[in-house]
């Protein structure tokens, strides 16, 4: 049996668990935490402190632990900064201490501890000011390495993390006596209850103390309660679940550690689940956290909270040492001694700060005494005590059980800026009246420190909550339980200590607090930020109140006058992976596939993400040397014969109703009321501020029926804005909207042979000749033996072109058919790159041109903005500043001699200075035009409409580019539009 393993408790003494710490193998028992198992094995030194690299051991038995931060597991599962007190032991667990160079025992950075004056409060601000250049390169990296917490492995985490949503009438946070009774009361009333407990066992202090509940031990009573709760359909018991945040309107965040206690999660199961809990009422039964008394060298391994010492002895059958000295300011000290004696341990003395402390049979109680120092290299070996008489005495021991009283666990009560209030009766802050809506607090969390009080207030809180919800409930009978008074006499720190720790995680001492005060940091918020007290990952759970008490002492004020600090979510650290959930890697966001996706993948297409869509970017063929050659082939082949491109991703919005045309008049800057049935019109949409934000076509399928297309990227925004216009701006119009984007597979068929190809598919009886179906015609037709389809004679490429749409399920087959039937025309599929090249060649604007700063006038479409009707943005498009004579105009650009047009480059006069003041415009899009065999670009040029033929300098100082370009029409290819109408 391990050296410090006791009998009894709630660990399974029959089942051993193998684990390792710093490479050494140990054995614990089922039911152990890493902390309790190390303790049982006699390991006291578990880490090094943040700043001074002082040896540190475990201090608490819960998630408030500031000291025993370790790195657990290896590889992708490696997890730094994990509190050993919350790690459930499993077979094969590996853990390492952190924050030291060299071995844990002989940390080279322990040298820091020799210069505490150098590293005192605010040392960052004082010491590393000069020379300034040294900060980034030298000081900061050095400090970060020295003060680093654990390390990450940089390997992918192999586990998955889930997110989920729970709903209940009552959320009970904490399953100690108050929580269990609250859940029981609500459960028996048939309410939907969630009982969340951070620990893997229910019971809270009931399983850590020796008090009885009725006839039963705390553990037995807890088990009976758990059995009854588990039998209720409406009650969900969630162990290993930390409620970490209280948000608006009864929403709580919780992390369930599903598989943290396993070496590897079961197949398919997540490591953790991030729950969002929607509750009508919540009761915080989170208990209280014990606070230490600060004294000289109180951070030595072996100095442990008295309540934790009892928990380790009673629940985990472990003790930090065989000889444990107790230091307290209340009867907690006596209780601790009693429990330890009952476990067969030696308690050399109870050192009680109260001069009137009660006596204890068989144990020496040193009344009015204080510990003034500890000794020991890597752990306590003795304490030096100043007796009431003023004499000192050294007492040999292996551990100190330290108790300065209990602070209600306020975290969740503060998450909506609730401010705690001071309770003079228990000398601690308790929740104020400004709790989150729907939240109440019971038991020790509310300052009710007896077991009886916890049971009673749990019931009362539940009854009140159920009453609010109109649920009739009967209060369960209360079992008999300990109901002692609070006996504490406030005592915060031992005077005269040179180095007495207040905040263990951030290495803040009583002296640091005093120094901050001397230097004028009087407000608690300033104190925190200057000393970093309470700013570590534990948010000062064990240190804030002590820090305040020291501050109060300095200012001569009372603690509540000095102030208080509040807590913010998360109550305990939450792993990034848990917040990410399954939104990682390829599942980062949903993927939208086009109807021709599977076919395109078969062709070896390269895909590009456009929003959530995957679009074919280009289709490499055998023999293509690089992507550019592929794209040029696709362009030339389309312009020479026929190409096909999947354009399903463009947004499609069905607009119907008596006022459909009038509605389009409102949302488009140009007019749609007079568009004939069977015709398509290009339209530009403005924002209300007069800036162009989307363009596309609207087809009039019937008198009261249009289909509006949007750009791929803006489909969601345009739909949202159209609904805004329909519901909020023009609520009396008869118009109905619905998106049909995904309902139709739509392909552009472009090129001189487009009609010939389509003719082979379109059912006889539909005339698609140029005369019957001219440019900008649209209609409903059938193809391939009766399949309903829509045909639009529109062109983005500048060629004779159609867009044909069929129900999406037939999209794959249609693409294959187009390829088959197009073989005689050497049909080519083309992707978004070729599409982009062709639209630049044709001078069509896209997002690069509709970039959020440009007006219709800038785009050369100023005349399209109708002045004879009201449309969104039309009024403000006329405002000053958008209509200057030398405004930017969209132009085409090509190099005069050599060089390339580059998107993002700026245009300057051929002669004259090159600076922002003389800027003439900028390039928005550029490509190599295989049709013109030259580089071409589109851009905005000051007064561009009147500068055709002018030579400018296109400069890109970032990459030393300086090219002479000629201003030309933006329509490089077929400016008269003859091909469109062929």
């Amino acid at each position: 049996m391990s050296v410090n393993r006791l009998h009894g408790g709630l660990v399974d003494h029959e089942t051993a668990v193998n684990f390792s710490f710093n490479g050494k193998d140990y054995q614990g028992q089922v039911g152990d935490t890493l902390a309790s198992a190390l303790m049982a094995n006699g390991v006291r030194l578990m880490g090094r402190s943040f700043k001074y690299h002082r040896p540190r051991g475990v201090m608490t038995a819960g998630s408030e632990e500031p000291n025993a931060l370790v790195e657990v597991r290896t590889g992708g599962r490696q997890e730094p900064n994990t509190r050993a007190t919350t790690v459930e032991l499993f077979d094969g667990l590996t853990a390492r201490s952190q924050n030291h160079i060299g071995s844990l025992k002989y940390d080279l950075l322990a040298v820091n501890d020799l210069f505490p004056a150098f590293l005192s409060a605010g040392f960052y601000y004082k010491t590393f000011m000069w020379p300034r250049a040294f900060w980034e390169k030298l000081y900061e990296p050095a400090i970060r390495r020295a003060a680093g917490l654990g390390s990450v492995s940089f390997e992918d985490d192999p586990d998955v993390y889930d997110k989920g949503f729970l709903h209940c009438d009552l959320l009970v946070i904490g399953a100690g006596p108050a929580g269990l009774m609250a859940a029981l009361t609500a459960g028996r009333a048939g309410a939907r209850v969630i009982l969340a407990e951070e620990d893997f066992l229910l019971g809270g202090r009931l399983i850590a103390e020796t008090n009885c509940v009725g006839e039963l031990s705390g553990a037995e009573w807890t088990a009976a309660m758990q059995a009854e709760l588990a039998s209720m359909d409406t009650v969900r018991i969630m162990p290993r679940t930390t409620v970490f945040g209280a948000y608006d309107h009864g929403v709580y965040g919780a992390v369930e550690r599903v598989s943290d206690h396993l070496a590897v999660p079961e197949a398919g199961k997540p490591r953790q689940i991030l729950w969002r809990v929607y509750c009508k009422r919540a009761i915080v039964c989170a208990g209280a956290l014990e606070r230490p008394i600060a004294f000289q060298n109180n951070d030595r391994p072996g100095v442990i909270m008295a309540g934790a010492v009892r928990a380790y002895a009673n629940r985990w059958a472990a003790t930090p040492a065989q000889e444990v000295v107790v230091f307290a300011n209340s009867d907690e000290g006596h209780q601790t001694a009693k429990d330890l004696i009952a476990k067969g341990l030696c308690v050399p003395a109870v050192i009680d700060t109260r001069a009137d402390a009660p006596d204890m049979a068989g144990i020496e109680v040193l009344k009015g005494a204080q510990i003034i120092n500890t000794k020991g290299c890597h752990g306590v070996t003795a304490v030096k005590v100043r007796l009431a008489s003023g004499q000192t005495r050294t007492i040999k021991c292996g551990a100190v059980a330290n108790s300065g009283g209990w602070n209600p666990n306020l975290g969740l009560t503060c998450h909506q800026r609730g401010r705690p209030v001071w309770d003079e009766a228990i000398h601690a802050f308790v929740p104020g009246s400004d709790l989150p809506v729907g939240q109440s607090v019971a038991g020790a969390a509310n300052g009710v420190m007896s077991t009886h009080g916890a049971l009673a207030t749990g019931v009362a809180a539940a009854m009140a909550a159920l009453g609010d919800l109109g649920i009739t409930a009967a209060a369960p009978d209360l079992p008999e339980a300990e109901d002692g008074p609070v006996t504490l006499s406030p005592f915060w720190h031992v005077a005269g200590a040179k180095r007495a720790w207040v905040d263990f995680q951030n290495d803040v001492t009583v002296k640091d607090v005093k120094l901050a005060h001397q230097e004028g940091f009087r407000s608690v918020e300033h104190l925190k930020r200057y000393t970093t007290l309470g700013m570590a990952t534990d948010q000062g759970k064990t240190s804030n109140v002590t820090g305040l008490a020291v501050m109060a002492e300095m200012t001569g004020k009372l603690i509540p006058e000095t102030g208080t600090t509040i807590f913010r979510p998360p109550y305990v650290p939450v792993a990034m992976g848990t917040l990410a959930g399954r939104s990682v890697g390829k599942a980062f966001h949903p993927t939208r596939l086009t109807p021709s996706h599977h076919w395109a993948a078969e062709q070896g297409a390269q895909f590009v993400e456009v929003g959530n869509w995957l679009r074919a970017q280009y289709f490499p063929k055998k023999g293509d040397t690089d992507w550019r050659q592929t794209v040029e082939r696709e362009v030339l082949s389309t312009r020479a014969s026929v190409g096909v491109c999947d354009v399903t991703t463009l947004g499609k919005i069905d607009v119907q109703g008596t006022d459909a045309a009038e509605f389009l008049n409102k949302i488009y800057a140009n007019g749609f009321a007079k568009l004939a049935v069977g015709k398509v019109r290009y339209g530009v949409m403005l924002r209300e501020d007069g800036i162009a934000y989307d363009d596309g076509t609207a087809a009039r399928l019937a008198e009261k029926h249009f289909v509006v297309t949007t750009t791929t990227a803006n489909a969601v925004t345009v739909y949202r804005n159209m609904e805004f216009a329909r519901q909020c701006l023009f609520p009396d119009m008869d118009v109905q909207l619905i998106s049909t984007t995904e309902a139709w597979a739509q392909y552009a068929v472009a090129g001189p042979n487009a009609r010939k190809l389509l003719r082979k598919l379109v059912d006889a009886g539909h005339d698609i000749s140029n005369e019957a179906f001219p440019f900008m015609a649209c209609g409903e037709i059938t193809i391939c033996g009766g399949l309903r389809a829509r045909l639009f004679r529109i062109s983005f490429s500048g060629e004779l072109a159609y867009e044909i749409a069929v129900p999406t399920r037939y999209g794959d087959a249609l693409m294959r058919r187009l390829m088959e039937e197009g073989e005689e025309f050497n049909v080519t599929p083309y992707g978004t790159e070729a599409l982009g090249v062709m639209r630049i060649e044709k001078g069509h604007a896209v997002a690069a041109e509709l970039n959020g700063t440009t007006t219709a006038a800038n785009l050369g479409m100023g005349r399209m903005v109708s002045k004879s009707k009201d449309s969104i943005g039309s009024t403000l498009s006329e405002r000053d500043g958008l209509n200057d004579a030398d405004d930017l105009r969209l132009v085409g650009l090509k190099p005069v001699h050599t060089g390339e047009v580059v998107a993002g480059a700026h245009l300057m006069n051929a002669t004259g200075p090159i600076d922002a003041k003389h800027d003439q415009g900028y390039v928005t899009s550029a490509a190599y035009s295989p049709s013109l065999e030259t580089s071409v670009g589109l851009g905005f040029l000051r007064d561009g409409g009147n500068r055709m033929g002018e030579t400018l300098r296109m400069v890109n100082p970032l990459e030393d580019q300086d090219v002479l370009v000629e201003v030309v029409s933006a329509h490089f290819v077929d400016p008269e539009g003859g091909r469109l109408r062929a």
Binding site: P590, R592, E742, R788, T808, R809, Y810, A813
Partner: protein, 186 residues
Amino acid sequence: MPDLKPLTALGAAAPRVDIIGALTIAETPNVALASLAARKGQGDAVVEVVKAGLALDLPAAGRSVANTSHRIWWTGPEQWMVEADFTVCELLAEALKSIVGATGSVTEQTDGWCRFDVTGDTVVALFERLCAVDVAMMAVGDATRTSMHHIGCFLIRTDEGVIVIGPRASAGSLHHALVEIAGAIA
């Protein structure tokens, strides 16, 4: 009959069925869908004509109705989705147009969506990890739209389980989410 071969939303010739633990997740491609929106001031009239034409009362917010040939669920104020068997009524939109006439606007929605029928004892546990809707408290016939793994979907509670109707282009992502979570709760 067109001589083009349709694909299911997941991109295969035949619908996919996954049985994971207690759950069955079945892709259901044979549905025809059409949206219906009342014209201005025709809210009552459209209810009448649909009742006469399909023998169903257009459902109130959050609800669906069904008979042997059609299912209708509420999608928004004075807006509904109508569903029929694709193999029987591929041209549902046309049929519905002739029923509602000028009282409503009808739009074919058949291939805008994919449908998965999720059945089995653990459906509540599944949806608990997919969406914020309190599926446990949904009554049979309740229908709502919500977001699951960033995908906007309709959920309809039936006797057997839950029908999920999601955007067709995201069928793969939706299916992936359903199957992965089913594995996690199996």
